[in-house]
Amino acid sequence: MALAQGLVKPEGFEVKDRPDDGGRWLVVVWRESPSDAPGAKYVLFGSTSEGGPWTQVAEVDSKAPEGFQNSNPKMFWLADLFEQAKHRHYLEIRSIPHPTKANHSIPLWNASSRSTGPKRSYYFRLEMVRESTGERLVVGSGDAQPIANLWDSSKSTIFLGCVGFCALVLTMIRRARKNPDMFVRRIPGLDAVDEAIGRATEMGKPVLYLNGLLGMESISTIASTSILGRLARRIAQYDSQILVPCYDPVVLPICQEIVREAYLDAGRPDAFREESIYFLSNDQFSYVAAVDGIMMRDKPAANFYMGYYYAESLLLAETGAATGAIQIAGTDSVTQLPFFIAACDYTLIGEELYAASAYLSRDPMQLGSLKGLDYGKAVLIAMLLVGTLLVSFELDFVRKLFATF
């Protein structure tokens, strides 16, 4: 090894476990050196045992920005807020090249995450090289064990934000118990529900209700089934008929149960017909073709499209419009909203679908959650305005605090 002339050893060399990961990564960190310049390189060697054999893991130019991530939020997210990370170099290591098998690498494992056994240490040595003069300098060596972390601290701000919002909603729900009289603005689409059902009863035609094209794992489908329950109760009271063709087989028995209970609550168990809630198909266009056929043959007087829809939204709405039905749609599918707005009489936009259950039932606890949601939005708007103002004056620590990684 040539004598280290002119190369200045950087300080602070460390090998450590990468924080906030699943035990598959290590990080090698060191501070900048005054010798960092074009032509000077850092070469990292790794081994699974202290005495070697060593294989080259990485080689980076000391001044190349793509060689390092000087402000890695995962590693230095707190320090990065205060700009301390800019004078550190680091490399993330996921595997070490195999010493004998070409094109093979040894992935880093935390033994406890993969098998029961002793934890493994991995060894690294960093050298600084200047090829033009043949200088070589050992910066440092060390070892570490990758550890699977239980908590991702870089997402703590997001977690706190979520918990804060949840606390706000729960507080408003509690408050609603004491003060049940809460103002909620008019939602024309929901006010028109009675009108739609009345029209169907007068004409002696059924009401068609669709739950959307997602399963019960989707919030929009759950919101839709909750609206179905309230709607079915009113339909039972009006002595009208409901048709619920289902796209998802899991949604089918739930809808049957909901409608059955609704008819029972309305005192009309005899009027309930299980065959009016049935499965059609869980293929998108087969379902749409079948529903369009139902609309053209049975000519329902009122169509409700509540849930998540894809491209078939306009097919449904236009066919319904052609039959002269009153149409009320509610979806959180942002891409399909324009089609429903153009083709339906009333449309519930986004969260109005989620609010529908609370709106129709006027249950104080559900209304309380709506209030909490509104206050949460107000906080979000305030943060957006404050954040925009701060960033305009190049104070972007708030933005970094809430960056998702």
Partner: protein, 273 residues
């Protein structure tokens, strides 16, 4: 009350006009002018910049309904990849019905490049995996845990086309050709976790949803809809189905604009009366 407002033009007349606007230009052969699109050019340039032998993952996530929009761009991308001698790994996470479409495109384009590309060395079809979220998570940790074998039941590990690939990070570019919600899964569980380069081909309706990802550079480029697919075909330099479809699309767009204008003229005339 929802009854159809009195139309000055009957519905069937509108449908007939649309049918004629679709069929007649399709049968005619006239050239269309250029239609530049920055985001499409960006994806093209990204693929062009990849060195020979770089592995590219293409996810075919569309069904027969969206085939008309997505098939032309799939063919154009595959032609470009084969021309550049990139290694192409093809899969689907959307639904089983997407797999024959994927096989059809690859069969046709690989026939065009017969003798220049070989299955197993230059491209492979690994098949379908359900539960897209779990599959993308799995591929991010270990590709072979999700797809151990290709569609011909051959083990993927050791195949020349899979050399150097163990996770999603090892791909030079991942392109999702999607008609459903799959891009959201790819972006949230794939790109933002593993930071690979990602491009998107999607229907025109969906394209507007993904502009924020272009702005944040999570997507390197996007082909949104038929007109963007047409632009990509022009860039690749081999005419494809988007060219003839674009003629019909252009005329239909103008027809709809004309119908809207006529409708408003009649509306205001009726109001004045």
């Amino acid at each position: 009350m929802s009854q159809e407002t009195k139309r000055p033009i009957a519905r069937w007349v509108i449908f007939l006009l649309v049918a004629l606007a679709a069929v007649i230009p399709y049968l005619m052969k006239f050239e269309l002018p250029e239609l530049p699109a920055e985001v499409v050019d960006a994806l093209y340039k990204e693929v062009e910049a990849l060195p020979e032998g770089t592995p590219v993952l293409i996810s075919f996530d569309f069904d027969p309904g969206a085939e008309a929009e997505l098939d032309p761009m799939a063919r154009a991308i595959l032609r470009q990849c084969f021309r550049k001698k990139l290694r192409v790994i093809n899969l689907s996470l959307y639904m089983p019905q997407a797999v024959p479409l994927m096989q059809g495109v690859i069969r046709d384009i690989s026939k065009e490049y017969e003798g220049r590309v070989t299955k197993g060395t230059d491209y492979v079809v690994v098949g379908f995996s359900p539960a897209a979220q779990a599959s993308i998570n799995g591929m991010g940790e270990d590709f072979y845990s999700v797809f151990p074998r290709d569609m011909d039941d051959r083990p993927l590990k050791g195949m020349p086309v899979m050399k150097g690939i163990s996770t999603l990070k090892d791909f030079g570019l991942v392109i999702d050709l999607a008609a459903g919600s799959l891009p959201d899964y790819w972006l949230v569980f794939g790109q933002s976790k593993h930071h690979f380069k990602m491009g998107l081909g999607c229907t025109a309706v969906m394209a507007t949803d993904y502009y924020p990802y272009l702005q944040s550079k999570q997507l390197v480029g996007m082909i949104g809809g038929m007109s963007a697919g047409y632009r990509y075909e022009k860039l690749v330099g081999i005419p494809g189905p988007a060219g003839s479809a674009m003629r019909s699309l252009s005329v239909i767009h103008l027809l709809i604009v004309a119908l809207v204008i006529v409708g408003n003229i009649v509306y205001f005339a009726q109001r004045r009366r």
